[in-house]
């Protein structure tokens, strides 16, 4: 197999998997059968594209082939043998396959987009557990293997396979519809979708175990999903905010770990290593995002992240603006982690003592009990107050709690007094 076919197939897998699967589900009304058919189409593409060349529209080729394989299977009564009920699709504006000849290409485009939206909303249905939502999205929308999803969640492959099966079974038995809600309902449903993308990015970014390369893949997958969502729902402000947030954070990825693999605090980050193209894209998104109405949590977090990167040096960061953004964020999303981050910003404008009071207040919060960043922040504030014994104790606690090797190295170096920041 030649290089060109291989790379075309890889591209098609990344950009078309979700669309092809969604379109095939519409034919089969059966997720497993659709997955098998799409898998088969990709396998066939390998030989066919090597032989005949890469088709002009790989997505269309794959969709046609997958649907054909699905119809073959339906004729062989595959689903009947499995005796499982079919997926529910309550609203059907027009019969898609009734008259393909008269279908305008624009309509075809809309159908493809609609199907992908349906697939995403199905995976993130509020009646599914958060873990199931992420797992299903990775499997069905990103086409990730069960093995990789299991690695992502740090569980055994068999455990993940069982979780996916359970989630799919619930979709069918409880009749979660493959449909596209409109109006306020879709906005509510999109919150769950954005939550899944954000969680995925967080897993990739701060996964407690090593393997940098794999975590990068997970981040890339989250970013790809955010782009897909933005393409599907360009008018939803929070989705632009989410994409911008992921872009800014990912743009700094290469500088977060120093050449020897040591985690870098913001002050030490090599700004020259930031990916300026990604930051530019985020800035564009935020500019286009200036419509009326209150900003949501992703838009606000993106604005905070942008404030950080817009300053030419760490010393020139506009902390007053950042504190203001955090104040707004706390109003609508008052998690202890947000409050902790706000305390850090506040230490820059109102001094370490005010910030320390907030941090000490958060110490009683059970949710932060094992969060190593809390004692790390506390140590940083105590240092500024000249209370070095207490600071050392807090650093020790942070070191104990951190399970990520890179973070441990960083905290270990601080403990030994190598480069305190």
């Amino acid at each position: 197999m030649d290089e060109r076919t291989q790379s075309a197939l890889r591209d098609a897998f990344r950009s078309e998997w979700a669309h092809v699967l969604a379109a095939t589900i519409r034919v089969t009304h059966d997720i497993d059968l659709a997955e098998d058919s799409v898998q088969q189409a990709f396998t066939e593409a390998l030989a066919a594209w090597s032989r005949d060349g890469v088709p002009r529209n790989p997505g269309a080729w794959l969709t046609t082939t997958a649907k054909r394989r699905a119809i073959d299977a339906l004729r062989r009564n595959v689903t009947q043998q499995r005796k499982i009920p079919l997926l529910i699709e309550p609203e059907r504006p027009f019969d898609e396959d009734a008259n393909p000849a008269t279908r305008a290409s624009g309509v075809e485009m809309n159908v493809a987009t609609d199907d992908t939206m349906r697939l995403i909303l199905l995976c993130c249905h509020p009646s599914l557990s958060n873990e199931s939502q992420v797992a299903l999205t990775l499997r069905l929308v990103c086409g990730m293997t069960t093995d990789d999803i299991a690695r992502c969640f740090l569980v055994e492959k068999a455990t993940m396979a069982a979780r996916l099966t359970r989630a799919k079974k619930k979709i069918v038995v409880a009749r979660i519809p493959f449909c596209l809600p409109r109006g306020p309902e879709v906005t509510k449903r999109l919150e769950a979708v954005m939550g899944v993308v954000y969680l995925l990015f967080t897993i990739g970014h701060t996964s407690p175990t090593g393997d940098t390369l794999f975590r990068r893949d997970v981040c890339a997958e989250a970013l790809r999903l955010a782009r897909l969502l933005h393409g599907l729902w360009p008018e939803v402000r929070e989705i632009s905010g989410l994409l911008a947030l992921l872009l800014v954070n990912d743009a700094r990825r290469d500088s977060r770990v120093s050449p020897v693999g040591r985690a870098q605090s913001m002050a030490d980050q090599d700004r020259a290593k930031w990916n300026t193209a990604m930051i530019d894209e985020a800035r564009q998104l935020m500019r286009a995002n200036h419509e009326a109405g209150p900003r949501g949590r992703y838009t606000l977090q993106a604005a905070i992240a942008l404030q950080h990167v817009e300053a030419p040096t760490y010393d020139e960061v506009d902390w007053h603006e950042i504190v203001q953004l955090y104040d707004e964020l706390v109003q609508l999303w008052s998690t202890p982690v947000v409050q902790l981050n706000r305390a850090v910003a506040l230490s820059k404008t109102s001094g370490p003592l005010d910030a320390l009071a907030i941090v000490e207040g958060l110490e009683t919060d059970a949710r932060l009990e094992r969060y190593h960043y809390l004692p790390a922040v506390k140590a940083y504030l105590l240092d500024q107050l000249g209370r070095s014994d207490e600071a050392q104790r807090a650093r020790h606690r942070a070191f104990e709690l951190s399970s990520n090797e890179v973070e441990r190295d960083f905290l270990g170096a601080q403990l030994r007094g190598a480069s305190p920041h």
């Binding site: 529910i88 309550p90 009749r175 519809p177 449909c179």
Partner: protein, 118 residues
């Protein structure tokens, strides 16, 4: 069409014994609405949880089967095209505004006696 059971739960401490109070009135009204809408197949309101008797392998005991803060008040079965429609119906149950909640479960099958005692 599919059938869904909607099971009503409330905190033990919140349950008033006053069956004629305004809380009960909201439920009666909701029940009437569902009957008129035609989606409700059957409904059962249960007597207070302290009238329950539980049976395990070798023992008959007083009270509900599971010792929990929340207890079942009753349940009803509705017909809906899919889960979204069932959830939309269930969300309108007054118990939610009264501090309790509902559980929605697909019904696998059920039998009813076809003859009724006079």
């Amino acid at each position: 069409m599919a059938e869904y059971a909607i099971i009503l739960y409330a905190n033990k401490d919140d349950i008033s014994s006053d069956v004629d109070g305004p809380e009960r009135g909201a439920h009666d009204q909701h029940s009437e609405e569902l009957q008129e809408g035609g989606s409700m197949i059957a409904a059962f309101a249960l007597e207070p949880f302290d009238t329950a008797t539980s049976i395990r392998m070798d023992a008959v005991t007083d009270g509900p089967f599971i010792e929990a803060k929340e207890v079942v008040l009753g349940f009803y079965v509705i017909e809906a095209t899919d889960l979204d429609e069932a959830l939309a119906v269930a969300k309108r149950n007054p118990i939610i505004a009264q501090g309790g909640g509902v559980e929605v479960r697909p019904v696998q099958g059920f039998v009813v006696r076809t003859t009724l005692d006079e």
